[in-house]
Symmetry: C2
Subunit: 134 residues, 2 copies
DNA sequence: CAGGATCCCAGCTGATACTG
DNA sequence: CAGTATCAGCTGGGATCCTG
């Protein structure tokens, strides 16, 4: 025996890794933040309470499905709050919770870093591309 | 006519949005950071210089392909440096650049936020799930 | 107005095999 | 040792149609 192939070991490692990732808060958060629409939604809500259709209009190109999906996961995570007003067309307002606000702060920090260093990154890319014409 | 359907308008909006996103540094950065392996690689390299196979071993479950791909994009962005030593088996060392180090700092900030607030998120999820048995 | 349900395609991921 | 090349599978996201 001892036929522990590299593949088997990697498979095992992957299982461990997956379990680890699922339990890893920072990675979960990263996944959330980078989710295609999450950043936009949070940014939009930083401007105050918004209705569903306001968000749909303000965030260019989002489909109803993705908007709803995004809002739902954010609501589930306690990042935003959803308020239904049973008037005659229904009215639903979304807002940032305190937790969401603190997350928005973090997002701003990331944005600042990006804006500060983006020129460096751009230059690095250009250098790399001219050096590796592939 | 004026048959500008909702779909058409969304399509147009989507084009604008895509162009916007491609030009948006913070969103690009977010995408990078949340990339499945990027966080792990940066974390691994925070411990100092590492060889290709070291990284492959330290990061459980990564395939050679993804490891290479991740390293390449990070190198292109000027986040890590790649040093080839043409000995008789070849030897390649990876390291964080100053830019990469500052990014690692940001990553740490995200990690701290996640660890600080994860319990709140977990609680919010539990509440949401018990309230919405679907 | 605010969504739910369904179908479907593209792209990324990963496994495997091969090379300088 | 440090990759590259190829192929298959899955999942995310959008389009579309429908409801309370």
């Amino acid at each position: 025996m001892a036929t522990t192939t590299a593949a088997q070991r990697r498979e095992q490692a992957r299982a461990d890794y997956d379990a680890f990732l699922r339990a890893c808060p920072s990675h979960q958060l990263l996944g959330r933040l980078s989710d295609k629409w999450v950043g936009l939604v949070i940014a939009a809500l930083s401007g105050g309470t918004k209705r569903y259709s306001d968000l749909g209009r303000q965030i260019a190109g989002v489909s109803p499905k993705m908007l709803t999906q995004t809002l739902r996961t954010l609501e589930r995570d306690g990042i935003i709050s959803r308020t239904v007003t049973p008037s005659v067309p229904v009215r639903v307002d979304y807002d940032l919770t305190p937790l969401g606000t603190s997350l928005a702060t973090l997002l701003t920090a990331v944005k600042d870093w990006a804006e500060t260093h983006f020129e460096e990154v751009r230059a690095a890319r250009e250098r790399y591309d001219t050096e590796n014409p592939t």
